[in-house]
Symmetry: C2
Subunit: 247 residues, 2 copies
């Protein structure tokens, strides 16, 4: 039987998962996909994810691939798999790709959104998908600070210590702020992200918005190449991986 490679676009509510990657202490997205795909296709399936999102982080369009001998047409797999998956995971698209296509070995632009709900008290219907902030945030200052992050930089200061990567240089194509009613959305587009990078960017920009640091200080934070120069890591549940664009 000939193997073919299938690419799936995966959306999930990260609230009840211990992140993407297989682990012993809790249920993960990868584990659920492997189990239900194996049952659906009648062979052992092991997906390869593009982004191994953290515990509590959400996705509207993460990407994974797997190989199968099953003759089910690529486009049908989304429908069949969604019948089996729990309702907090849903395939948005499935398609056959060339056998050597690998989600982490090709250039892509990833878009993340970090959502902040600004009010005096938390709002229950928003609590799972945004970070609550009762302190006033100066958006003009935050956007000014964000601009320093655009372009190619060494983002070591925005990388959780202990992460092992070959290089901490990344390119951000855009760091934009948008008001959506009481929500403030930080939208970050880049060619790659270090461990906790978007959450550290969000935590640092929130400090700028609260007047705890100056917009211009972002230059020094980048130059320091030291995690302690940046602000705190914002909570996971405010973060959503929106989409991948492959170049």
């Amino acid at each position: 039987m000939e193997k073919k490679r299938i690419r799936i676009t995966v959306a999930y509510d990260g609230t009840n998962y211990h992140g993407w990657q297989l682990q012993e202490n809790g249920i993960t997205i990868e584990e659920e996909l492997n189990r239900h795909l194996s049952e659906l296709l009648g062979e052992k399936i092991q997906v390869i994810g593009a982004s191994r999102t953290d515990s509590g982080v959400h996705a509207m369009g993460n990407i994974a691939v797997f190989d199968t001998e099953n003759r089910m047409p690529g486009k049908k797999i989304a429908y069949a798999l969604n019948q089996r998956l729990p309702e907090d995971i849903r395939i948005q698209r499935s398609e056959e790709v060339p056998p050597d296509w690998h989600p982490r070995h090709c250039e892509s632009i990833k878009t993340y959104e970090y959502r902040i709900y600004r009010a005096e008290f938390p709002m229950p219907v928003k609590r799972l998908y945004s970070c609550f902030c009762y302190r006033p945030l100066d958006m003009v200052r935050m956007q000014e600070a964000a601009a320093y992050l655009e372009g190619e930089h060494d983002f070591r200061s925005f990388c959780q210590t202990g992460a092992q990567v070959e290089t901490t240089v990344r390119t951000l194509y855009g760091v934009q702020l948008e008001e959506q009613g009481a929500d403030l959305v930080i939208r970050v587009r880049g060619n790659g992200f270090l461990y906790n990078m978007v959450r550290i960017i969000a935590g640092t920009l929130m400090e700028v918005g609260q007047g705890k640091r100056e917009p211009e200080s972002m230059r020094e934070v980048l130059e320091a190449r030291d995690r302690s120069a940046a602000g705190p890591t914002a909570p996971a549940h405010g973060l959503t991986l929106i989409r991948y664009e492959f170049l």
Copy 2:
């Protein structure tokens, strides 16, 4: 000790509750408020709610009142109570009102939103607060149909049978549709709502949007004064009580 009357604005995620009103088979919002208020204020508290929302329905601004002899300032109660409530219920405001003020005995305008997520597949991060619809919806037809509902009408066709009310005449000040990305929001403002009224309006408008009934048929639906003339009751989780305005 002198009694004073406190008004609270209550927001909740209805997902895990059997609606507002006390009942034996499950936890309700009213029950949680009574219990935590009684503990906080050291006396038996019984709230009176403005809207007894159904199981699964959400609120950003429902209203309730209660009487207390406790001397805690009205405005402080929101802060103190939020420390005790589960995170899916949050007081947005608390204040003292005249002792005879009653949320169901005064004129008000209530705003509800019914949210529909339109896509080929459900989106996990939207599943709890919107109704999924994969069928195309013609918004122009829906808005045309909605216009027939504005004004003073006998809404008996849009009332769940079995509900006991003195009159089924209500006034809707606006039935508006708004696109928010892939979401279609039906926003209804009125002086009062019958049992399941907004959900039946949403279900009927969705049938118009799918071409199953004509916009002009809304006139006949109203005239029929019969629940069976209208469309299905849309699912509870798409509905949110947004706010009360007291006149």
